[in-house]
Point group: C2
Chain length 340, copies 2
């Protein structure tokens, strides 16, 4: 039943307790054939007796190569987007008994490099990365050494790696067109900093939508650099003071959508200004009006990239390609309000 010593039992301890050699214990632990039933029993008994726990690090060292672990570096594990991605990847990892290291990058390139190299020191077999810096070439040598790396949500730079993204520009274009088709001429656009690839793509899609309907771009209504819901709220409040304010808003991320809705509530215009948001959120159907969104299937994205990763880890040789998953516009009310 274990003793009070602090040192953990090793196969050496198990071996002497069972009166066999190291190698025999190793064989029993790894379910190798060719050990008599009697010895198997004695070893198993000693294992329980000494609370022996296999040391995977030592095993991996000796066996070389694989550690059956991967790293997942995303924007912020606390938000539902990254959380859902992580969960989807984890589900694929579980069935293969692969352990998952995860961490948040918070859009800090330096952190990305530190965390990635730390994980590489731990000899992860694979890495799913939501690139933050504009240079991932530090991964080159490790990729050559056999590390499987895939980018998700955004492309990487300086390395040719497989990438899974959604059709940000297409979804944003569709959202904008959806509004324009209903007669809106002054459509605002809220996005995060252009240095964030998804934000830039969505803004571009918005511009495409305007072009498609021959609508002029009103620079004051196309605000980028919005990081938080609160910033979106004040941006919208500012616009609403314009003599000819927008009659519709395209919000480039769910927190910005929420910020925009708060602003419209504040000025009592939530039933008159149309809103389409990029990215769904749990209670979007419960707001009044319910929020029309461009939905991306985050879980599917995670599952997709995980499958690519594990296939590569299991030996598949594929050229690095960019997979673009589709988005879906979900009309719920807010996006179907007509201009007043």
């Amino acid at each position: 039943m274990g003793q009070n010593i602090h040192r953990r039992a090793t196969i050496k301890d198990v071996a002497s307790a069972a009166g066999v050699s190291l190698k025999t214990v190793s064989r029993v632990i790894n379910n190798e054939a060719g050990v008599s039933d009697d010895l198997v029993r004695r070893v198993e008994h000693a294992v329980l007796e000494l609370d022996y726990r296999h040391n995977l690090a030592a095993s991996n060292l000796r066996r070389g190569q694989r550690t059956a672990s991967i790293g997942v570096l995303l924007h912020d594990l606390g938000n539902s987007f990254s959380g859902t991605l992580l969960r989807a990847i984890e589900d694929q990892a579980r069935s293969r008994r692969i352990a998952v290291f995860s961490a948040s990058l918070d859009d800090e390139p330096e952190r990305e490099a530190i965390l990635a190299t730390d994980l590489i020191s731990r000899r992860i077999d694979g890495l799913v990365l939501m690139p933050t810096g504009n240079d991932q070439s530090y991964l080159l040598a490790d990729i050559r050494a056999g590390l499987a790396v895939f980018a998700v949500d955004r492309p990487a730079n300086g390395v040719e790696i497989g990438t899974v993204v959604v059709d940000n520009a297409g979804g944003a274009r569709e959202a904008t067109a959806h509004l324009a088709a209903r007669g809106h001429h002054r459509i605002a656009c809220l996005t995060d900093s252009d240095s964030i690839w998804t934000a830039a793509q969505r803004r571009q899609g918005y511009l495409d939508g305007l072009t498609e309907y021959s609508l002029p771009l009103v620079p004051e209504f196309a605000v980028s650099g919005l990081t938080t819901a609160d910033q979106a709220t004040s941006a919208v409040l500012t616009m609403m003071r314009d003599p000819a304010p927008p009659t519709a808003i395209f919000a480039g991320r769910n927190d910005l959508t929420i910020g925009a809705v708060r602003a419209l509530r504040e000025v009592g215009k939530q039933d008159r200004i149309a809103v389409v948001g990029f990215d769904d959120f749990p209670t979007s159907d419960l707001l009044t009006p319910a929020i029309t969104v461009v939905r991306q299937d985050v879980h599917a994205t995670g599952a997709y990239v995980a499958n690519l990763l594990f296939a590569r880890m299991e030996g598949a040789v594929t050229a690095p390609e960019r997979v673009v998953l589709p988005t879906t516009l979900v009309p719920r009310g807010s996006g179907e309000l007509l201009p007043t």
Copy 2:
């Protein structure tokens, strides 16, 4: 600049490239004093030349003991509760350069044991666990061997370990009292299965609240075993068909709250039936009426348990105790509706 070989460089390779001994390379890598500037330069050059990456597994094996990694086993990394906990723990880990393994348990005891022992094989130094099974005694030997373990959100069984929970019963009691104080006599209660500790605690708090106001328990209104929002919706719809339906609802988890709100919308009673939910959610202020909730500070909980864990890992010796963090009732409207 690296070659096309697949084998990774080891300090041995670096040593021969730099024309020094293994040990000197090791010294340079670990920033140990007592190496001449000339050799340091030569070694550093060889390190870059060969794309050498330190092998932490081998290092840990030799150094014994610590791996500077922890495990975090929570209910579901994809939901915001677990996600926020993970993020809070990760933030504490980061500053200590500790890597985090994480996984979801989905309330499956078997999975808990498998994942925990897998992580122990990898010699994690610490573990934060949201216990799922009713027996965590399998951790006993590892705790004796020095593994730091803390439970979060729910207590563990079969082991005496430090635990951080919120005042589920107190918060639920307060919510119920809040409604009763406004004249509600028929208050419904929606909770998950009693086998889930938090659910049972919240139900108990509800019962305490009824007792405090000398209200009778109407069994049909106190529904447990609700797992999903949809189940909450249908439970509420059923109640609403009662000749004397509840005038207020206490929902024991945020998804159940959302399910209840959907049901009330469906029967057009969202402005007449009061609702208080346990656990806040992002848009609770944007619904009409805005939802009154009992809030727990999930990030603080995670930070708290992480600090306990790291303090223990750094040598603090503390008796296993249960920390109960407070909850806050946030009135927003739905909980202040008066009985009709």
